[in-house]
């Protein structure tokens, strides 16, 4: 444990080094969150900020919180974020151009005002006030100290929070649940749709892919009687992605054989 708080109001040099190493990086990462276009990058930067904070917690005699910060936040919450990001499209990148008029100047003004006021307030509140330090409070260990607080003084709040957690879990289930309004497309429906289609050319089904003699991959189009590849025979996704392979290379070179 990095129990470094010894002198009232002052910290030891190692902690200062740690702080001056972590704090600028955390601020830079936080700023980066705002400035990068891809949400995934933002998430990674946030994870970095959270880990920095976890270390700082531990440096501040808050061992339990530091660990929880890493396990719950950086571990669970950030994973959830990434999971949802994947779900809604990992590639979507945000344009940073402001579309609402007056938003930028207003937020600049407000943020400067907030920082100024908070600094002034905190300065007034803390300058000249000696820090007591947690040595005494953590005498039985940080986890034990927190536990005795939680299960005595804050036990009611603790119980209420458990109710909140269950409610949130249920709420998430209800919100994310979707109901099918149409029945699934069955084989029968597909068959009917084929015959009701514009032309009867595909009524018997689409051509299957592959040049079966040499190659049976799904990314090789079948050949039509005139020798041209049929795009209908392979998945449209493969075609759109450019993953369709020319069937030419699999053709037998009949002429060479004749010459031999």
């Amino acid at each position: 444990m990095l129990n470094l708080a010894l002198e009232a109001g002052r910290t030891h040099t190692p902690e200062a080094v740690l702080f001056w190493f972590l704090a600028p990086l955390a601020v830079a990462a936080a700023l980066g969150m705002l400035l990068v276009k891809k949400a995934v990058h933002s998430a990674l930067l946030l994870a970095w900020v959270m880990i920095s904070l976890a270390i700082i917690y531990i440096a501040q005699d808050a061992l339990f919180l530091g660990i929880v910060q890493i396990v719950v936040y950086t571990g669970a919450v950030m994973m959830l974020f990434l999971f949802i990001l994947m779900l809604v499209g990992v590639d979507s990148s945000d344009s940073l151009k402001e579309t609402i008029k007056g938003q930028r100047p207003a937020i600049i003004f407000v943020s400067i005002g907030l920082i100024g006021l908070f600094l002034s307030l905190l300065g007034r509140a803390t300058i000249g006030v000696p820090a007591i330090g947690l040595t005494k409070a953590n005498a039985d260990g940080n986890v034990q100290g927190l536990a005795s607080e939680l299960f005595t003084k804050y036990v009611w709040a603790f119980e209420v929070v458990s109710a909140l957690l269950i409610t949130a879990a249920l709420g998430a289930m209800v919100l994310a649940h979707s109901q099918k309004t149409k029945s699934k497309f069955q084989q029968r429906d597909l068959s009917i749709a084929r015959f009701r289609g514009k032309s009867l050319a595909t009524a018997a089904g689409l051509p299957s892919s592959g040049v079966f003699a040499r190659h049976n991959a799904v990314d090789v189009p079948a050949l039509l009687p005139d020798g041209s590849p049929s795009k209908l025979s392979i998945s449209q996704t493969l075609d759109a992605r450019g993953d369709m392979i020319e069937s030419k290379i699999f053709e037998l070179e009949a002429r060479e054989v004749e010459e031999d």
Binding site: I100, Q103, I107, V110, G113, L114, L117, L121, R124
Partner: protein, 630 residues
Amino acid sequence: MTTSTHLVYLIALPLVSAALLLILGRLADKWGHLLATLVSASTFAFAASEFFAMRSRSGAARATTQKLFDWISVGTFKVDAALLLDQLSICFVLLITGVGTLIHIYSIAYMSHDRDRRRFFAYLNLFIAAMLLLVLGNSYLNLYVGWEGVGLASYLLIGFWNQKPAYATAAKKAFVANRVGDVGLSLAIMIAFAQFGTVSFAGVAAGAPHASSAALAAMGAMLLLAAAGKSAQFPLQSWLGDAMAGPTPVSALIHAATMVTAGVYLITRSNFIFDASSTARLLVVIVGTITLLFGAIIGTAKDDIKKALAASTMSQIGYMILATGLGPIGYAFAIMHLLTHGFFKAGMFLGAGSVMHGMNDEVNMRRFGGLNRFLPITAITFGFGYLAIIGVPPFAGFYSKDKIIETAFNAGGTKGYILGICALLGAGLTAFYMTRLIVMTFWGTPRWSRDEQHPHESPALMWVPMAILAVGSVASGFLFTSGNSMVHWLAPVVNPSGAEGGAELMKPIVVSLLALGVVVIGVAYAIFKYRTVPVEAPEKVTVFTRIARRDLMQDAFNEAVLMRPGQKLTTGLVWADYSFVDGLVRAVGFTLGTSSQAVRKIQNGYARTYALVMLVGVLALVATIWMVTL
């Protein structure tokens, strides 16, 4: 005071019948008029039985009451919906139901060609019900309900042929003029409430002697205004002439049995107010005198037979109002004249209707002439009414009108002379214009085309009511005056203290002779002047005639003094409302709208902007903390 449980049927019967006829609609077309007439007749029979029952009782037991339900009960202020049938009410009830029934019978024939006859009868029944409620209510508030009902029914009936815009306008005019009076009545009720804490007749009568003279005068003036509205007295008289737009039976009903008598009833009923306030009495007398001359003068210039009769009604009601203003002794004479007038005026209106019926609805008397040979029964019944109204003994009008003239003379001092002479003058004018009417209609040479007009006598359904009314015009005056029966009958209600009239200025016989002389002069001049009647009204006439033909400029007066300034005021107010009030509202709206337009740009739907706003809020919060902890 006797209590009764069946007085309410007097009102309920015609009311239910009216509702039935109106709700059933065309289903009741075949028998609606019969039902209405039957109901009216049975109401009369009921009223007659009540009358005889009342006669058989004596003293204070004669008055009958019935409490229907608690109407208003607020703190100490209580108004019951209750009915009161006393010696005064029964006169009106009998007149309303009796003459009303005759008019119903007459209307069966008169309206037989109208496809809305059923509706007409429904309105007639409604009119009777409302008028009965008016005279039977035991408080000013109950009376007010009937009062408004009468206003409504008269509006519906005057505008019965409302497909003609002029008739609809006449109905509206009557309605509006009545509203002015109604404001007076409601103010009077408010004064009564404020002054006496009650609105029942008994309560107000008990409190009247102790009230301040200013309050009594104010209440009297307001009651007079109300009476002027309903009874077409100066200055609210202008609607009466136009009310002739309604079918002729309606005119008979309005002029004889209902509506215009309501004002006289109101003042007579409020005798305790007027007895206690000489100011109010003086106002009544002035209004009555002006109106009796006003109506008589208009009557001399009218060529329309119905309008001439309408002017005469105005004048005769003026006599009644004058009588009510002459103190306790006058009320009985006013009611007496009202009853006799009910007979002869109804008879004459029905006669006029009969003439119109025979003459293709022609009303211009200059196009009549010599009709006595073609409509003999009408001529005779009309003649009886004529003799009654001008006051020839022994016809009804002689007794009742003479009493009023006499009482006017006896009012004392200069006032007595002025009133008496005015009343005499009115009698002369009455004789003149009624003779003019008779001469132009029934005498002389025919001034109508024999090719187009085929005058004929009306059917029995029409002339029988006229005949009955003619009998009334002959006999009623004698009946009422013999042994002062009317005065004694009404005394407990209108003259409880038993006050006598003023000192006799002249012997009654002298007054009668004077009146008769004036009448003879009027008749003679009319006969002389209308030896020949030009078919077209002469153009070269004096300015006075012109003014009289235009109803003494009453409409011009109303227009110039009330309508135009009112219009100007309204236009100004509309403008002020539009530019200032609305302008203010619009300015507020505009400001809000414009600022909202600006503010709604913040509400752009982007969650990011909302987040920004939240952040600004955080900034403000932190800034506040910063400043507080400074």
